[in-house]
Amino acid sequence: MIRYLPLVVKNAIRNRRRTALTLVSVATSLCLLGTLMALYRSFFYSETPEYQAHRLIVRNKVSLANPLRLSYLPLIRKVAGVQEATIYQFFAGSYKDDTPSESFARFAVESERLFRIFPEFRLSEEEKYAFLHERTAAIVGIKTARSLNMKLGDRVTLRGDIFPVNVDLIIRGIFQAGTADDESMYFHYDYLNESLRAGERDTVGAFIVRMDGPESANAVIKGIDDQFRNAPLQTKTETEKAFQLSFLAMLGNVKAFLLSICAAVTFTILLVTGNTMAMAVRERTREVGVLKTLGFTPGIILGLLVGEALVLSLTGGLLGMGLAALACAVLRSGPSFGADLSQLAVAPSVIAIGLGISLMIGFISSLIPAFTASRRPILESLRVNN
């Protein structure tokens, strides 16, 4: 079939405007498809990074909105397999005008334990020391620091909403984690807790646990939840990844949503390509008759016409996957809006699926017109005036 490739390529590009428009439509659709598949993979099938695989989140079994008691923490630390555990209190609140660009996650933690649980946080020893030794100190992720122009020594006021207090903080460190945490801020739980009225103190939204190894996850989860099975506030322990996905689930059935968009995109591009191929084949009916007169068999003609569609769809698919890689890079570097997009990439498996879909689109869209043309009697083909 290789000897026919020049003919296939020349035919594929004979109508340059139509070819360009087809390529753009296939590439755009495949870019969207590739990006959605990369998101899907990143959310649901990406490998858990080493640092994340060691961590568990413990929260109230009823919902994240219901707090746990601070007194649970020493008991959690005693569970076999737990290396370290600390408070993981989401502060919410608002910063400045609370515009979307000023939105970032804020957590109150036990600062001295934070770096044992998040070893991927990188900041200088001086900054770490300053954070650990100052009650109102805070550290902020590099992305947020850059986007909001925060510098060491800056004063930041977070207005409380869940908690009826404002916290005045001083930026003492800017850390880099290479994860979604680069958009987070951490400050001392003690400072928050002591700012609250007596009856509001000593509650915690969640605890975060570092295990001795990912293989201990099931045992540690069971150990923690069993510990509080008969307590007034039961716990739900889950991996950090599952915890993040539970936020995603609040948006609805994200899996079905992503898959249905992928299916709609595929179907639409199938119709567009099908129409293009039908036109391309129809306008060459006479040439098909000539080829048959020269001795081309129906099988070869079918191969030529389908091959033409495959060349177009595969080229569009490659362009689309390239654009999807760019889109993922842009999404990775942009704000994450709570989802961890640090691993978002067009993986080889996504490229393979994307190109497979491109080829399938080319094949299905061309099969019927190509088959019809290849089987049409020679004289009938030659009578058509293109």
């Binding site: 026919y4 020349k10 004979r14 007169t293 020269l294 081309f296 129906p298 009697p377 004289l379």
Partner: protein, 235 residues
Amino acid sequence: MSEVVIETRNLTKEFARDEFRIAALKHASIQINKGDFVALMGPSGSGKSTLLHLIAAMDRPSNGDIRVLGEDLRSLSDGAIARWRNAHVGFIFQSFNLLPVLTALENVELPLKLTRMAKSERTAHATKALQLVGLGERLTHTPRQLSGGQEQRVAIARAIVTDPDLILADEPTGNLDAASARDVLEMLVTLNKEFGKTIVMVTHDPHSAKSASSVRYLEKGELLPPGAKPVDWDA
């Protein structure tokens, strides 16, 4: 005794039009020997092109027998017919029918792609065929960069590039000016006389028919006996 290349007996072709069956060719029996140059003439709708298409196996007869180059064409499958045509028949159309996206060389090379020839061999053959028709300097020209006469010469090169035993031409001068038509006919005569090719040519033009060694007339789907002409045929 000359070798018979084409032999038809009671060859009939009918077309269905709604509830009617129209006979385009009725009981045509003809024998053409190797090295003959036969012109098929007759008014429009007389069945001459139908007979040519049946000889080229571009259509299948409704009735009768047809043997071309010793092959019973009725017994061959579509794929086998295509391969047979590629190996043994060169076809020249009235409207040239070159592929517009290909150069002259690529157009001529097309039938060779169906053979086992290597690329370099195909190019050499196609170049030689184009040189033979006087277009050795136009190898890279596309059809729209050629005149009608040159296009037809490319089409002739394409028809002879596989060195077929039989050349079939359907009104090869129909779209050409007088000078180009003369060139094309001279080429056909050369192919017949010098290369021994058997040629069957459909034509309306009596001057073109003079190039042939014999002329057979058709009228209302019937092949007239040798020497007979249609009634009122004033050519």
